[in-house]
């Protein structure tokens, strides 16, 4: 862990590429050993299940998104894996160590947990906060570690400021620096961008991207779907129990049919003849005129169900041109992770299920 390693990765101090784009994601290490293994994990509070029979594994070096609405059991899962609370049933290993009283101290030495609230001592400076935790971890070369951690999150110039005087975004960065001190194998980030403005959120995203490039396994709980889509190799969607798990692209493919959106200057007189029999086109329907224009006036839209968009699009274009249509747009419709989430949990976030 060092500020240098961030710079070598071609990042600015926030870990974001100098063009402002997130750096290319490493391919998921599917065959790598598991950093986290969870088996039938259950946690009950006063007769109410906060987490119910959840099983999954996270590979070493993976950025794993844990999504769900408020009260879905995300934080409870993090607290169990962080050895703060014990499960009611089931088992888990973190960094290869079974979660339980026997391995708790060893797990805590090898992980870092960043709760939703930064939890900094506001009357102490950033350095004093980090020094306290470095001592609790029993770290050698404390000052060097602190300097490196602050450089990695771009806080070196605020090291001697009281944390109570920092903005919320800077406090979040300071908390992230604290989490880097012990060079964790697994880092749990619980809603790290909750309550942050877009600029601060962007900065935290950059820092998480930097963690991924260092090979840290990141367990990210969030209900910000664009955040998970941008940062995570795989996501799990849960609402007390696990609803689905997989790569965002795979989840989209599993849940939604692929389709092409077609817009032409005027409604086709016989769309069935134009779209029927084209390669990779499985069906079509009128989507209504774009922009809410009255039917029969102005541009018209169609949605084509396709098995392979790359094969269907050229054929559709040729067929439309052959039919004398003026093509305004042909585009593959892309379902977001939000669509996946809503499809699985419903508009009420799964509360009624």
């Amino acid at each position: 862990m060092s500020g240098d390693s961030v710079m070598r990765a071609g990042l600015d101090e926030t870990g974001v590429g100098r063009t402002g784009q997130a750096v290319p994601r490493r391919p998921p290490t599917r065959d790598a050993p598991a950093a986290i293994e969870v088996s039938h994990l259950t946690k009950v509070f006063g007769g109410r299940a906060a987490v119910s029979d959840v099983s999954f594994s996270v590979a070493v070096g993976e950025v794993f998104g844990f999504l769900g609405p408020n009260g879905a059991g995300k934080t409870t899962t993090v607290r169990i894996l962080g050895t703060l609370i014990s499960p009611t049933a089931g088992s888990a290993t973190v960094a290869g160590i079974p979660v339980g009283p026997g391995g708790a101290a060893e797990i805590r030495q090898r992980i870092a947990v960043m709760p939703e609230s930064p939890g900094l001592y506001q009357r102490l400076t950033v350095t004093e906060n980090l020094e306290y935790f470095a001592r609790l971890y029993g770290l050698p070369r404390r000052q060097q570690r602190i300097t490196e951690a602050l450089a990695a999150v771009g806080l070196a110039d605020r090291a001697h400021d009281l944390t109570g005087q920092l903005s919320k975004g800077l406090r979040q960065r300071a908390a992230l620096a604290r989490s880097l001190l012990n060079e964790p194998e697994v880092m749990f980030l619980d809603e790290p961008t909750s309550g942050l403005d877009p600029v601060a959120t962007h900065e935290v995203h950059g820092l998480i991207a930097g963690l991924r490039d260092r090979g840290v396994t990141v367990f990210l709980t969030t209900h910000r779907l664009e955040e998970a889509e941008r940062l995570c190799d795989r996501v799990a969607i849960m609402s007390t129990s696990l609803r689905t798990i997989g790569r965002p692209d795979d989840l989209r493919r599993e849940l939604f049919t692929r389709s092409l959106n077609v817009t032409v200057a005027a409604a086709l007189p016989e769309p069935g003849r134009v779209f029927g029999g084209l390669p990779a086109v499985q069906g079509w329907k009128a989507a209504g005129p774009p922009g809410g224009a009255p039917p029969g006036e102005g541009p018209a839209g169609y949605v084509l169900t396709v098995s392979d968009a790359a094969q269907a699009a050229p054929a559709v274009t040729r067929a439309l041109v052959g039919a004398g249509a003026d093509v305004l747009l042909i585009a593959e419709s892309r379902h977001s992770l939000e669509d996946v989430y809503l499809e699985l949990l419903g508009d009420d976030g799964g509360k009624s299920r």
Binding site: F45, I85, P115, Y121, R123, R135, G138
Partner: protein
């Protein structure tokens, strides 16, 4: 079970740094001792030369009792905030995700309060005795100097401070509101106050044997209380506010490294 002195030291340093930065804590913690210094000092200095022995003894008893409240109330109020206050601030959870053990955390917090509390207790007695020796009438000054309660009080300052700290910490680990914790800790300190009152007002005479026995008892209580408080310190309860649920049965966790 061996606490890491480095981790205990880290907690002490952090706590003391927070005290130093929060001048309001220092100021308000100083108000009570000053009040408990001014009243007995005025009482002693106002004794007339013609005062009867009974009056003199009564004033000395009162004057040496009030400062003894300082090492009871000040640390109990401070320690009552110690755990629940961190929980309310949101700083407790990050600390509990580190390898620090319960006993290390509690020892550090207790020591950080004990040192200034005991020092403050001795300072109050020192200032009181100094003023009486310099400004009181010679007979009164001599009576204060030779009062049997004085050495007893000096023995009891650290022991009562430890009592107040453990009582405050015990309550702080089990309640969810700082105000409740501080109010309860003051109430729970009353037995120690009663003990001091019985002795200082010579309801029980502070002979060497009695002082030694009481000091030994308090010391034993303080040692046992430390272990009890460590057992009361439950991470799950502190984090979630709920008692640990049944299901998986684990052996009792060790006190130092969990």
């Amino acid at each position: 079970m061996s606490a890491s002195t480095a981790r205990v030291g880290a907690v002490i340093r952090k706590e003391l740094a927070e005290f130093r930065r929060n001048r309001l804590i220092v100021t308000t913690a100083g108000v009570l001792p000053v009040a408990f210094l001014i009243a007995p000092t005025i009482s002693i200095l106002n004794i007339r030369a013609s005062a009867l022995n009974a009056t003199l003894n009564s004033r000395i008893e009162y004057s040496l009792f009030l400062p003894l409240l300082v090492p009871v109330f000040v640390p109990s109020i401070m320690s009552a905030y110690s755990v629940v206050g961190e929980r309310e601030q949101g700083t407790l959870e990050p600390v509990l995700t580190t390898p620090v053990g319960r006993a290390e955390l509690l020892l550090g917090k207790a020591a950080a309060i004990f040192m200034p509390a005991a020092a403050l207790g001795y300072l109050i007695f020192g200032v009181f005795v100094l003023i009486t020796q310099l400004a009181a009438r010679p007979a009164v000054a001599a009576a204060v100097r030779h009062a049997p309660q004085l050495p007893a009080a000096l023995v009891f300052v650290p022991l009562l401070a430890a009592w107040g700290i453990w009582v405050g910490l015990a309550i702080s680990t089990r309640v969810s509101d700082t105000r409740v914790s501080q109010q309860l800790s003051v109430l729970a300190s009353l037995p120690a106050v009663a003990l001091a009152a019985l002795m200082q007002f010579q309801v029980i005479s502070p002979t060497f044997g009695l002082v030694a026995a009481l000091a030994g008892g308090l010391l034993a209580f303080d040692c046992a209380a430390g272990l009890v408080v460590a057992r009361l310190f439950d991470r799950e309860r502190l984090i979630t506010g709920s008692r640990p649920s049944g299901g998986i049965t684990h052996p009792p966790p060790p006190l130092v490294r969990e």
